[in-house]
């Protein structure tokens, strides 16, 4: 199973700034290993987030997002104590959901 994300959600000027680090190889499918064999693509394809259970954000990614991806976005409204949850899905069907409390 994939390792947990690191999510920081901070109330700022009536908004919530969310910063996420995800642990993922983000293998492009273009690289070859030492024996010349292509390393198969393995990367996050979809990211989504919700505030207190209501979907607020979604994104679609290709393999050129960097390894161990970083993402920052800003939710309008929201306050300290709210719950932000972030989910990713990769091209192999792996999934990870983590939640953070807005500070």
């Amino acid at each position: 199973m994939a390792d947990p994300m690191r999510i920081r959600a901070q109330a700022l000027n009536g908004n919530v700034v969310v910063k996420v680090l995800m642990q993922h190889e983000m293998e492009t499918g273009q690289r070859k290993d030492a024996n010349g064999k292509t390393i198969p693509a393995w990367h996050i394809t979809d990211v989504s987030a919700s505030l207190n259970g209501t979907p607020v954000f979604s994104a679609q990614w290709g393999p050129a997002v960097s390894k161990n991806p970083f993402l920052q976005f800003t939710i309008k409204g929201g306050k300290a104590g709210d719950k932000v949850s972030v989910q990713w899905v990769d091209n192999l069907g792996n999934k990870r959901v983590d939640e953070a409390t807005v500070v």
Partner: protein
């Protein structure tokens, strides 16, 4: 600071936006065609997305370093102040596939995102904002990718 009344007002405002202006996320623009990630050139990409001619615009902001010490991680910040933006894209012109990331701009989030992308070589980087009426606005910037370390 926030009174309950403010919160209710804000919540109502948000709900109103969500209900009235645009359906949430995927519905906002139609779901991103997955073939978009296969596009090798900018032209192919816009075709795959069924979009018209892109226009360079001051309403789109793109921030990235002039020089990347390593192409494996290039920090990119995109934002747009244009009205009714429903989607934003990060493109790297000289990568094998130009589309790197697509962000749905629901009324619940700002049209401002930050991520990090891989660049195989020195290339133009694009931030693209797509509006509800299918206007395609963009900003561009060249990022030099340098050889680092001992090269071994």
């Amino acid at each position: 600071m926030n009174t309950r009344r403010d919160l209710i007002k804000q919540g109502a405002l948000l709900a109103g936006l969500l209900a009235g202006v645009l359906p949430l996320q995927a519905g906002a623009a139609e779901a991103l065609a997955k073939s978009a990630f296969d596009a090798k050139t900018l032209d192919e990409l816009y075709k795959a997305l069924g979009l018209g001619k892109p226009v360079e615009s001051k309403e789109v902001q793109l921030s990235a370093p002039d020089i990347a010490e390593n192409g494996a991680v290039v920090p990119v910040t995109i934002a747009s102040g244009a009205a009714n933006v429903v989607r934003m894209l990060v493109l790297v012109e000289k990568n094998p596939s130009v589309l790197t990331a697509s962000f749905d701009v629901s009324p619940a989030v700002e049209a401002a995102f930050q991520t990090r992308v891989k660049m195989g070589q020195t290339s133009n980087l694009y931030a693209v904002a797509i509006t509800a009426d299918k206007k395609v606005l963009f900003a561009q910037k060249e990022v030099k990718v340098t050889l680092g370390g001992c090269g071994g």
